[in-house]
Amino acid sequence: MSLLELDDVKVHFPVRKGVLFNRTVGHVYAVDGVSLKVEAGQTYGLVGESGCGKTTLGRGVLRLVDITDGEVVFDGTDLAKLPEEEMRRYRRRLQMVFQDPLGSLNPRQNIESILSEGMAAHGIGKDQDERRERIKEILAKVGLPTNALSRYPHEFSGGQRQRIGIARALVLEPDVIICDEPVSALDVSVQAQVINLLEELQESMGLTYLVIAHDLAVVRHISDVIGVMYLGSLVEEAPSDALYAGPKHPYTKALMSAVPVPDPEVEDRRERILLQGDLPSPANPPAGCRFHTRCPWAQDRCAAERPVLTDVGDGHKVACHFAAEIEAGTLELTRPTGIEAVTETKAVAAEGPDADKVAIPAQSSGDQPAEKKAEKQEQDSAEADALAKADALAKADAPVEADAPAKAEAPAGADEAAEADALAKTDDVPPADDADAGKADADDADAPESDASGAESAKTG
C-alpha cells in the first residue's frame, strides 16, 4: 500500500450560466480520471504543458479544490471523503510549496509570524519562544540567516523567498510535500540551488515529493517516476531514465523532442517531432483519445475509443492503442511532423470550432498558459465561477521563465538594474482612480471580481 494513492480522480469545474439564477450548462474537465501511486520517500514527477490539469490535480489532492470523483488515499485514509475539520488536521502531514515566491508569502507578515502560523494552527510548541527555536533550526536547514526572522518577504531575493516557502512547509514536519512548479519562477543559477536543497531535505528528513512542473529536464533530474499529462489525464508513466530512453506515447515523444538541450552537438542531430495546431479546450475535449486531433499517427480507432493506461512491463504504463506498432515503426504517419507541420495551414481538426456541445468553442483556448480571455460566446454573460477558478489555476501553470522573475524577483533592496530590465513599463503609474466626488463610484472596485468571472479562458492548470 503506497503512501499516496490516487484512484480515478476527477475534478470538473461546473460552468454556470443563467440570467438571474445560474444553472450548470457544462463542465471544464480539468482533471478527467487520473490514477497514480507515490511510494514513501520517493519523488513522483508530474509533467505536462499548461492546461493539462497538473496544477489542479496537485490542489485537488490537498482539497484546495473540490474533487468531483475518485479517491485520494493517503496512508490508508481517503481524504476526498473527510469532513472539513478532520481534513484540516490531516493537512499537517501534507504540505505545499508554491510557484510564485513573492505571491505565496503574506507581504504584511514578517518571516517569524509566517513560519509560526502553521504551528499555531496545529498547536505545535507550547509558546512563541519554543516555536522560535524550531523556526531557527528550520531556517538553518534551508540556508537562511537567522536575522531573517524580523524581515519581510519583499526584502528577499526570489531564491530566498522560495526557501522561506519550503521552510514554511517543513516546520509542520509533513510526510508529503506537493511542489507546484517549485523553480520555474527562478533564475537559472538559483534554480539549481533550490533543486539541490529539495534533494538534500528529502534524504535528511525522508520526505515524499509530488513535483509538478512543465520543464522536462528539471522533472527528469529530480524524479524517480514521471507521469506525463495531456488535457486532464495521464498518457504515460515510467521511471525517469526509462521514460527518457524510450518514450512510447506519441505526445511524450513530441514533448521530449521539443526540449532544447544546451549542447550544439545534441541540438544539431536532435530529431524534432512538431505538432500541428494548438491544445483543444478542456471544456470541450475531443472524443476518444484526447490527443487524436494532433497526433501524427492518429488512426480512426483513436477518435472512437479512449485508450486506458496499461502497464507494458517494469512499471512503464502508456495510454495508446498503437504504442507497440509505433515503437516497432510499422505504423504510417497520418500528419507531417517536420517544418511543414508548422507552416502548412489546412484547418487542423482541433481548430474546427464544434461549438454545438458546450457554449465554449473548441478553439477558444490555446497553449498560451497566460491566456486569460478566450473567445467570447453568449456564455460570457454567465457568472462562470468555474472559469474564474480555471483562469486562476491556468495562471499558476504558466511556465514563467527567468526573465519574468525580473518582475517577481526584483527585491526592494536589490540594485535597480534588475528592476530596470523590466523597465519597459513607466513604473509609478497611478491606477485609474475612483470618481471620488459625489457618488460616481466608478465601480472599478468591482472590476477584479467581474473580470475574473468574465474571463472565458477554458484553460485549467
Binding site: 539549481a192 539541490n196 529536464a217 526540449v259 544546451p262 497553449d367 528592476e419
Partner: protein, 332 residues
C-alpha cells in the same frame, strides 16, 4: 563590415529621489548579414534594455544612452528620431516576449498587420489585406482571411506570436531582434515558433539578434553567442566553442548548474552560489567576483579587460579564466 556593430553601449536610468541605476554598462557585439547572434543572460543582465536601446524604444525622459550602434554605416543612437522611426519596421523589426499583451486588444489582427504595410510599403485597402493574408498564411496561421477580422483574444498564444512574427517580417527587414520570443510559450509551441524563425531567417537572409536566458535555445539556433552579466558582456564566442569550452567562470558555472534532459538521474548539479544581487560595480572590479570560486585580489582592481586566452575570436572578460589543467597546454 558587420551589418550591426555595437560599441560600449551603456544605458543609465535617472529617477528623481532614487540613485541612478545602470542597466547596460558597456556592451559590445557585432551582427553580420544573415547571421544569428545570441544575447544570453539571466534577468537583470541588461539584455532586454540593450534591444530597446537599439530600436530607440526607451522612454525619452530619465534615460542616458551612451556608446555607438552602427547599422549599415549609420549610428542608430545619434540618428534623428524621425529617421529612426522610418527604419523601424522596415529595416529593423522586433518580436517581444509576451504575445498576450503585445497585441492591441481592441483592434482586429488584420488592421495590425496592414498598418505596417501601409506605412512602409504603401499598400492600401484590398491589396494590403491580400498581402496581410499571405503573411499570416506564411507563418502558419490557418484560415488567414477569417483571422484578419478577429481580435487578439480570439487567438491562442502560439497564434498570436505567429501574427507578431508576420508583422515583423512584413517588410523583409534586414535585422530582426527577438526578445525572449518563446519564453511565455509551452515547449511544443516553442519548438514550432523556433523552426518558423529559423526558416524565415534562412529564406530571407535576415540577420537575427536572439535575446534569451535559455541556453538550450541558443545551442540550437545561434551562430555567435554573447553572455551578459550585470550589464556587460563577459564572454562571446562561436556556438560550438562556447559550449565546448566555457571559459568565463559565470558561463562555466551556468552550464554546470542547468539540468539537462539527456543527463542521467544521478548526476548532481553544481549551482553558482548567491544571487544576482550579490555583486559589485564593474568600475570596482569584476561584478561576478562575490559569486565566483576563482576570484583573487586582481579581480577587485577595476574592470577586467576582454582577452582571448583560449582561441581567436573567443573573448573572455576575466583575469582568472577557467582553462583546462595544466595551464601550459593551451590549444590554438
Amino acid at each position: 563590415m558587420a551589418l550591426l556593430s555595437v560599441e560600449e553601449l551603456s544605458v543609465t536610468f535617472t529617477a528623481k529621489g532614487r540613485k541612478d541605476s545602470t542597466a547596460v554598462d558597456g556592451v559590445s557585439f557585432d551582427v553580420d548579414q544573415g547571421q544569428v547572434v545570441g544575447l544570453v543572460g539571466e534577468s537583470g543582465c541588461g539584455k532586454s534594455v540593450t534591444s530597446l536601446a537599439l530600436m530607440g524604444l526607451l522612454p525619452g525622459k530619465g534615460v542616458k544612452v551612451g556608446g555607438r550602434a552602427e547599422f549599415d554605416g549609420k549610428d542608430l543612437l545619434s540618428m534623428s528620431p524621425r529617421k529612426l522611426r522610418d527604419m523601424r519596421g522596415s529595416q529593423l523589426a522586433m518580436i517581444f516576449q509576451d504575445p498576450l499583451s503585445s497585441l492591441n486588444p481592441v483592434v482586429p489582427i488584420g488592421v495590425q498587420v496592414t498598418e505596417i504595410l501601409e506605412r512602409h510599403r504603401g499598400l492600401k485597402g484590398e491589396a494590403a489585406r491580400k498581402e496581410a493574408a499571405n503573411l499570416l498564411d506564411r507563418v502558419g496561421i490557418p484560415d488567414p482571411t477569417r483571422r484578419l477580422k478577429e481580435y487578439p483574444h480570439q487567438l491562442s498564444g502560439g497564434m498570436r506570436q505567429r501574427a507578431l512574427i508576420a508583422m515583423a517580417v512584413a517588410c523583409a527587414p534586414r535585422l530582426l531582434i527577438a526578445d525572449e520570443p518563446t519564453t511565455a510559450l509551452d515547449v511544443t509551441i516553442q519548438a514550432q515558433i523556433l523552426e518558423l524563425l529559423k526558416e524565415l531567417v534562412d529564406q530571407e537572409g535576415t540577420a537575427l539578434l536572439m535575446i534569451t536566458h535559455d541556453l538550450g535555445v541558443v545551442a540550437g539556433l545561434c551562430d555567435q553567442v554573447n553572455v551578459l552579466y550585470a550589464g556587460r558582456a563577459v564572454e562571446s564566442a562561436g556556438r560550438r566553442e562556447l559550449f565546448a569550452h566555457p571559459t568565463h567562470p559565470y558561463a562555466h558555472g551556468l552550464l554546470g548548474s542547468i539540468p539537462r534532459l539527456d543527463a542521467p538521474r544521478g548526476e548532481p548539479l553544481s549551482p553558482i552560489r548567491g544571487s544576482i544581487n550579490d555583486r559589485i560595480a564593474w568600475a570596482d572590479g569584476c561584478a561576478f567576483a562575490p559569486r565566483c570560486d576563482y576570484y583573487t585580489m586582481e579581480c577587485l582592481t577595476g574592470t577586467p579587460e576582454l582577452t582571448e586566452p583560449r582561441a581567436a575570436g573567443h573573448q573572455v572578460r576575466c583575469v582568472n579564466p577557467v582553462l583546462p589543467k595544466p595551464k601550459a597546454e593551451v590549444s590554438a
